[in-house]
């Protein structure tokens, strides 16, 4: 009996050694993906793709490459990534929004080191241009979303007002809604929370010919146009046209109010229809361009996230590692994978090859893709972006408390450019 047991153990040991020997030749890529919605985790690691998942399908299609893929919530991803970098354990591939700090620290690989030419040429050039520092592309876009104004059609009909296109019309519409509904409906939604206060900033400054930077790409946070724009936004709050707590009510709170018929107009992402359906709201809504100041050119806000690859000098075969990262991207952006993912998350694609597939499946996508063409993006390629992003939110929140917008923006400009 003992001999049989010893034999079995020896065989098992040998088999496991062979297994390890085979596994040693594999490349394992650490991948961090942000959680965009309820289905992200299931799609990547569960049973979301016809009973299988992205990791399984990738590993089956690419023998010798293993994925150690982790889906991390947006709330935690910055903590996870910076802790891993501090501990010398950066992921191989990261999906996140910002990249400038990683690039300027010399942590990233240039995209041309791992991305195939065919795939590279498939990205919208205007998207790729957002990830360039000193002429080098450090990340590729994984998706985009565009913002639009949604309005409650039934309310507009009941009150008898037209969809506002300018700020003056917007104020008139808000007053008409207040007059008609009293305090039962908020005419306008504002989110100046730490979640997305920077988006609120862009909705107003870009629609007053202002912006984060000037024509030369230098920070211009305290421009007259910006001061006027933020004063206008704060004025809407002070006149009682908005939700009562813009500093703590997030985009999702506003979407819930809009869905429940408590809010007449809200600026939010192209994902709103998916959100309303999932939450069971049945509001009759329309979409329109963001209102702008009289005489100013309107500007749509686009938001883009990215995929980037970190250096790992300890890896013995850099060429093999780069090739593995390239294969990951090729597989992820292949039409059958990518269109499924973008549709599931309700976002807009970043590669042109996906457009025809998506428009065929849902013709309403076409209109959003047109909006994307005219979108302005945050200046995330500038290394001070994190300070600016948090800074404009602080300015907004202090302005809500009665602070002087000009003084606050002057202070931020000084802090960022010193």
């Amino acid at each position: 009996m003992k001999k049989i047991l010893a034999l079995v153990l020896t065989v098992l040991l040998t088999v496991s050694c062979i297994g390890f020997a085979a596994a040693e030749d594999d490349i394992t890529l650490d991948v961090i993906i942000c959680q965009y919605g309820n289905n992200t985790n299931n799609w990547f690691t569960g049973t979301g793709i016809d009973g299988s998942n992205f990791v399984e399908l990738f590993e089956a299609a690419n023998p010798g490459i293993k994925l150690n893929l982790e889906v991390v919530s947006w709330n935690d991803v910055y903590t996870v990534v910076s802790t891993r970098i501090s501990n010398g354990n950066a992921p191989d591939i990261l999906n996140i929004d910002t990249f400038a700090d990683y690039a300027t620290e010399g942590l990233l690989l240039p995209v041309t080191d791992y991305c195939s030419e065919e795939l590279y040429s498939d990205f919208f050039p205007s998207f790729i241009a957002q990830s360039v520092i000193d002429g080098v592309v450090w990340a590729v876009p994984d998706l985009a979303s565009a913002r639009a104004m949604y309005y409650n059609k039934d309310m507009f009909e009941e009150v008898g007002i037209e969809v506002p296109t300018t700020w003056a019309e917007l104020e008139d519409a808000c007053q008409a809604i207040v007059d008609y509904y009293g305090g039962d409906v908020y005419p306008w939604g504002i989110d100046m929370t730490t979640d997305e206060g920077q988006a609120a900033f862009s909705y107003y400054v870009w629609n007053n010919d202002g912006g984060f930077v000037d024509a030369d790409g230098n920070w211009a946070l305290n421009s007259d146009a910006n001061v006027e724009a933020i004063n206008f936004a704060i004025g809407l709050y002070n006149q009682g046209y908005t939700n009562p707590n813009p500093a703590t009510q997030t985009r999702y709170d506003l979407q819930d109010m809009f869905g429940a018929g408590k809010m007449a107009m809200v600026i939010t992402t192209n994902q709103l229809p998916t959100y309303l359906t999932e939450k069971g709201y049945s509001v009759n809504y329309g979409t329109a361009a963001l209102p702008h100041n009289e005489g100013a050119a309107g500007g749509a806000t686009g938001v883009m996230d990215r995929v980037m690859a970190f250096k790992d000098d300890s890896y013995p075969d850099q060429a093999a590692r780069n090739a593995a990262i390239g294969k990951f991207l090729d597989f992820f952006y292949s039409p059958e994978m990518y269109t499924g993912w973008v549709s599931m998350e309700g976002f807009l694609p970043a590669v042109s090859s996906a457009v025809s597939y998506l428009v065929e499946a849902d013709p309403s996508f076409g209109a959003w893709l047109d909006v994307l063409d005219s979108c302005q993006f945050y200046p995330t390629a500038k290394s001070e972006w994190v300070d600016v992003k948090q800074g404009v939110i602080e300015v907004e929140q202090n302005a809500l408390l009665g602070g002087d917008v000009k003084t606050l923006l002057d202070g931020l400009q000084e802090k960022v450019t010193k």
């Binding site: 700090d101 300027t104 703590t248 408590k262």
Partner: protein, 294 residues
């Protein structure tokens, strides 16, 4: 014989070894790392650079919002610990008296403490919502109010709500600490006090309070540490907004580290917090040692 003596000498250390090892790995080592980081330059990407002396501490304490945050932290700790100690004592006295359903009452009282803080804070967030909060719904349905009330009309009020939730979840802990103290009091003390003609007030101040003082002391010191370090309530309800006006030290340093990516000043702040809490714990130990000596 010698081997038995040797074994007796080393055995306690052997038994202590696993917990000492765990404490070293999970407490002492991270503390050492944080101290080291607080004197280092840390980039926004998280790369740890060279020694920068007290620069991180200077940056942290000279920031405009540092004063507000420290004042909030003081208000938060004093109000939550103070009020919950008072209310917890009253609840413990009630639970110590005999009445029908006492066991059920004790089980109910423990719920707020036993539930996760994030869940508690989220529930309260829904209760006080202006648009469709439970509090407004109930008051409207009962006809007590005619129009919905904005229970979060200013950040002062929001901070008071946060303190209120802190008190709500802390009271049970105090109550059960005090209850344990009350149950250990020999009934003979009260009989003797009654014979001496003491009334209810005198029994409370001359018998009950002195005898439950050790339990109150333990709960107060532990609460100061727990409440000072408490993160979920404020983070869930306001995230320190607007403009850090409702931040305490712990939520502020988190936002500083992971939203503003200012990890150097954030680690410096955590070192300051650690030193403050060490002072509280040291005070408690000094009092305990003095009492033992007496």
């Amino acid at each position: 014989m010698n081997s038995i003596l040797m074994r007796r000498k080393w055995e306690p250390y052997l038994w202590l070894l696993p917990s000492m090892l765990l404490m070293t790995i999970f407490i002492v080592f991270p503390i050492f790392i944080v101290f080291k980081l607080s004197f280092s330059e840390i980039s926004k990407a998280g790369v740890v650079g060279s020694f920068v002396g007290l620069a991180n501490f200077k940056a942290a304490v000279t920031d405009d919002v540092f004063g507000t945050v420290m004042l909030n932290t003081l208000l938060w700790v004093v109000s939550v610990v103070g009020i919950s100690t008072l209310l917890g004592f009253i609840v413990a006295m009630m639970m110590n008296s005999k009445f029908h359903g006492r066991k059920i009452a004790r089980s109910i009282v423990v719920f707020p403490w036993a539930t996760s803080l994030v869940i508690q804070a989220s529930i309260w967030n829904y209760i006080i919502k202006f648009e469709y909060g439970n509090l407004n719904n109930i008051l409207l349905n009962l006809g007590i109010i005619q129009d919905a009330v904005n229970w979060r009309i200013s950040y002062h009020i929001e901070f008071m709500w946060e303190c209120g939730v802190g008190i709500f979840v802390t009271v049970p802990f105090v109550a059960f600490c005090v209850l344990a103290g009350l149950q250990s009091i020999d009934g003979a003390y009260y009989e003797a006090a009654t014979v001496d003609g003491a009334g209810a007030w005198k029994k409370l101040t001359h018998v009950t309070l002195p005898l439950v003082r050790p339990a109150l002391m333990v709960s107060t010191v532990l609460n100061i540490i727990y409440v000072f370090n408490s993160f979920p309530i404020i983070y869930t309800i306001t995230k320190g907004a607007p403009a850090n006006k409702t931040d305490t030290m712990v939520t502020y340093l988190y936002m500083l580290a992971f939203y503003d990516q200012e990890k150097g000043p954030a680690t410096a702040l955590s070192v300051i917090g650690f030193i403050l809490l060490c002072a509280v714990a040291g005070l408690y130990m000094m009092i305990s040692i003095k009492k033992d000596e007496r």
